[in-house]
Symmetry: D2
Subunit: 251 residues, 4 copies
């Protein structure tokens, strides 16, 4: 059994993590902490892996503290910059387990979204046309989603590396319907009550189409990815800082 | 058997009409004419219904001539204005069969597209959110399609008539991904090699979605609609000028 | 403000109804009762419409009691037979408001599902081919869903009424992949973790396809339909027993 | 310029190949032969790569002859068995270019279908649920398609290799709607006028879904794959017999 402590246990995501850890056959909940609780209670004596889902303002401090305490950490909080990541690497080097400490940070734990992104990059060079449609609930403040921009940029880079030219497009009049162009790839954002977070990538050649679609219906969609990361850290994940769930998928 | 003559029989659409008329059990080809052929050969003696698929520059002249010759006409050529339609009505009144002459003109003969448009208007008032996505081959010069604009406008009018307010949308930053706004309805246009003409309307409420999608894979998709119009003109269609295939669907 | 009492207020559906009633601008919660509570507390003095979401074993008794107390009722509980419906009609006739009493019972409150069913029946006669795919979570015990069978039967009846023959199908070898045949319409059932309740109807002619899809992502999807029924009963719904949400949609 | 000869040039597929070879910037048509023509006219003097699209009854004979003449061959004809493939390998060993001769045979040249199959196998181990839906025109005689069976078998093998158990399915009553079970994976076959050849693979976890869909709208969908194979044979493809387009995709 992998002993898992949760930091941010009462939050929107953290409470799902607690349920997932309790529900899986190979994990058990060690400590469930939230704002105001004493992080130093977490140690290698009671915890194999910590899952940290809090807010950007406190996540770096939490991670540095946990590294100093010698426990491995899966981080789901967003807002990581290169500068912050560098501090994590320094903390690992200066910590009690410089050669074995593991920290994993991912901007997206939905396996379907990570796979869709990866497959899209692989497929990119085989198609003349490609467009990205992302669909979210109407409360989302940014459009298009960061995930869609990332997918489009990856596709564009793969097309360029393969020597492909621009996508065919004979549009001569448009009032804005053709979407935002990210590195030459058109990206469309739909906002619809009832939806949560969805992305669809359409590839086209003469006579054929390939569609790759990822649907995240609710926050529970992140849990298989969180558990996968927990198992990798308790298992054969490499020491040091790893960023991105695709690193833990055998692709 | 309904005797059908085709005007524009060698054109892209007309040649499909010839095949469809030959293929159906209840229709037979009378005359197949094209540019340069003598239209006066078509008369009630040899033809029950004419199908006219030519180009906007000559279609009005053809229709006026055919009305003067006393034959009923199904017109698939595009480019009709109110002014042109008025001339057809005048021609019917001044022609040999003012009380029984039938002329039918439709901008779109794809039954799936016409139904999708109709159902979308019916569904509009029951949903908080709605967006339209149209997808076409990349050689199309206009975006979004006239069909998509028509669908969006119909939805907007139905929402307004039902007293619905604007669709929810908390987007605060956007680089153009949210599409063109037609009467308050967001419309997105995708251009992809391999596709022909497709439209998808997404409706959303809390926890639910309704999707209505019409796919026209090739020009053959117009033939069921053309045959339906031919049968209506040979059957119980009302006399006079009728515009729009939805008039011939029992909806 | 429409005063709404909820019977079964602590149940899976009832608790959503309480939230929906509290959340809507034109409704307010009167009484929230559950098993063991005294139904006679509900009267026209405190309640305009009752929403009853309990279990089949007690629903009839509840409805008969509420009718005797003179309040209008929206019933979401399933399991209604013709025999049970007859008893409701008798209770209305024998009750305190035989000419104005309203009772509404619906097997499905998801507006998207009801519209998809209705549109499918309307579209049926215009297409050579049609198949139904329903998709649900893997805990569902029956396949295909009652909704899918209802949709297929409605389509089959519409095809028959229009004189259409059997759908084209040249399949000569099959190991069971062609699905269950309901009145000549093939129905496929998919069971997938992550899904809730979804139905897709595919119509095809040469060169074209029409797809109508309803997605119910969670129980919240029933609430717009429940509120619509509450408003109709408080408004212009006809007196007597009404069955089916389609009766309250202007279609 | 790659000089391409086509065997079966007047056939349904061959005529498309002739057009594709004429249309591409880096290929030119050498000889276009059909039944009755003299195959010995094709030699390394006039041809870099032959594309053979005939019928199973004559394809092996053609390929053996072409190998004996020392030209590389892309074969699109179906019906290859292990026994036939062995004869090709023997012919290569006994031919004029045993160390450099290239022969490529593929059951499916649609890049989208080959990628969908490959990605599905890669994704298989990350999801609790999976089902396959294939959709074809109603004239198809076998159900489900060979491609769908291949995809399902590959998914099943990947699940088994990863130690996954059976997919969750609590169905207790079913009249045949749950489809054909291929190695534990449910496969559904839809037959619809207007469609050509389509496959959709649905993967599900709690709260998320991944959908991979390949659409082949017409025979033109095979041409990008044929040209890709031609370029590989004229380029860096390994000597000997290669089977399957996935071998030529960098995946």
């Amino acid at each position: 059994m992998i002993r898992v402590s949760v930091v941010g246990a009462k939050g929107r995501m953290g409470s799902h993590v607690v349920d997932a850890v309790n529900g899986a056959a190979d994990t058990q909940l060690a400590l469930a902490l939230d704002a105001g609780d004493d992080l130093t209670r977490i140690s290698p004596d009671n915890t194999d892996v910590v899952v940290e889902f809090t807010v950007p303002a406190v996540s770096l401090t939490n991670v540095l503290a946990l590294v100093a305490q010698g426990v491995d950490v899966v981080v789901g909080t967003t807002g990581w910059t290169e500068e912050k990541l560098a501090k994590v690497r320094e903390a690992i080097a200066a910590g009690p387990r410089p050669d074995t400490q593991k920290v994993f940070i991912a901007p997206n734990f939905a396996i379907s979204a990570v796979l869709a992104d990866h497959f899209s990059t692989q497929a990119a060079k085989y198609f003349e046309s490609v467009e990205v449609i992302e669909l979210h609930h109407p409360d989302k403040v940014d459009a298009p989603s960061g995930t869609a921009i990332h997918t489009a940029a990856g596709i564009a880079a793969a097309r360029k590396a393969a020597g492909l030219g621009p996508v065919p497009d004979n549009t001569q009049t448009d009032g804005g319907s053709r979407g935002q162009v990210v590195d030459g790839v058109h990206v469309h954002a739909v906002r619809l009550r009832g939806l949560n977070a969805h992305e669809e990538v359409l590839f086209g050649n003469a006579g054929e189409q390939l569609v790759i679609r990822a649907d995240s219906f609710d926050r529970g969609s992140f849990m298989p990815g969180v558990l996968l990361a927990v198992r990798k850290l308790a298992g054969d994940a490499p020491a040091g800082l790893t960023v991105g769930l695709d690193k833990f998928l055998d692709l």
